[in-house]
Symmetry: C2
Subunit: 256 residues, 2 copies
């Protein structure tokens, strides 16, 4: 295995560009995956990653060392791994991997999660993960959301990306107008309680930015305007928590 | 207003210690609040904060400028505000505030949320926020959780801290043994579906670390071992998302 210790190394510089620049990721069609679970999920879906990169200290033993045993990997000095600054708690394993091309067309009849202005990468990744766990198979992101295939969103998604058709830069108003199921949005002054709302068939749920919420035009366009009843003194939920409540209420009803 | 531009300034150094050191926060009994919403929530609960600190650029206009108008505040050069490194997206407003003394005793009859080994500050804050929104009034944290009154947990909590009795370094096994309601834990191989589980009266929910989950001893001690049904290809949820699903299923049943 090759050990890289200098930040002037050409491969390290290329890694740093991939870590920091969405433009670089789009140009090369590649992204970075952090952690054994994510790399395994990618490889199960799409086959081998392009390059494995392991932090020097992670070779001493543990999950990462076991994972790279017998495989070709580039070893990075720990200081350089930290310098990539990808996630708050790097796992010690990275992979360069081709971003899968989304060949699926947007489906106007299937369930969907729609994200409007969700900028925080952790929230976008958690929303994708929750949607995938709830059995939803497509995600549509408006312009202004965090880039779905950035390393931080991938890390928070924990493999959800490989179970979803993800469409970015989507005109959500256009999709909602054409959608054949029921469009739903949560808002604090929503008229209908989640637990009393009436729906049949597939839903497209719109979730919005922390603070601002879903944009007024999309709220107006939604068929259902839903309020999550909050009996506590605090009347607000993180967007990913609100989505978990809504998406699993739909799961509960399907199972009932 | 006084403008601080030097990192050698004594007040800035004290701020940096508060931002970085849990020991310093315990020693002084003070913490840092980030953002207008959090400061307002604190002041509504406990009265005025000790010192307001505003980033130089935030004085130009907007929410922060309106909030500090007519109040005494220390102005910090933007570079120094960033150097505090408190949260990923600083709001431009900070406050030094006394940490409230928890005078409430642990209540063995009321609903509770129990956190076991949840280290990520964002997850701890979101869990507290979700619990407060669901009407829960006490939170018990085992040793090893992120410090509840750290600036990052406060920021993610968005005011939940002021609606909860928060107990840290709690022996959760001891609490569970003495609890007079029903103790519940989520685990992937839980025997009972959340939607089929049967309970009456108050619940104490245990949520565990990402990855590892709740420790085996606490799983064994819980009266209900609950599985969240996940129809999707991805069979995992972020701990804060899982908690939102459980806590609001309890809200739904109370309202039904």
């Amino acid at each position: 295995m090759k050990l890289i210790q200098s930040r002037d190394n050409a491969f390290f510089k290329a890694l740093k560009r991939l870590a920091e620049s969405g433009r670089e990721r789009r140009k090369t069609g590649k992204t970075l995956l952090d952690g054994v679970h994510l790399v395994e999920a990618y490889e199960a879906a799409f086959g081998p990653v392009e390059t494995l990169i392991v932090a020097e200290s992670a070779l001493a033993g543990g999950e990462v060392a076991r994972f790279v045993e017998g495989r070709d990997a580039v070893v990075l000095a720990d200081a350089l791994m930290r310098e990539l600054g990808l996630v708050d708690t790097p796992s010690g394993l990275l992979a360069v991997a081709a971003m899968p091309n989304s060949i699926a067309a947007v489906d106007l009849e299937k369930e969907a999660i729609l994200l409007d202005g969700v900028q925080d990468p952790g929230n976008v990744g958690t929303l994708l993960r929750t949607a995938a766990a709830a059995g939803i198979k497509q995600a549509l992101l408006a312009p202004g959301c965090a880039a779905a295939w950035s390393p931080k969103v991938l890390r928070a998604g924990q493999g959800a990306h490989f179970a979803l058709a993800i469409h970015e830069d989507v005109d959500l108003a256009g999709f909602m107008a054409a959608y054949r199921g029921t469009t739903a949005v949560t808002c604090l002054d929503g008229s209908t309680s989640l637990y009393e709302a009436d729906w049949h068939g597939p839903l497209a749920w719109v979730f919005g930015a922390e603070g601002q919420g879903v944009s007024p035009a999309l709220i107006a366009a939604a068929r259902l305007r839903i309020r999550i009843p909050m009996p506590g003194a605090v009347e607000s939920l993180n967007v990913a928590a609100a989505a978990a409540v809504c998406l699993f209420e739909a799961v509960r009803r399907k199972q009932a």
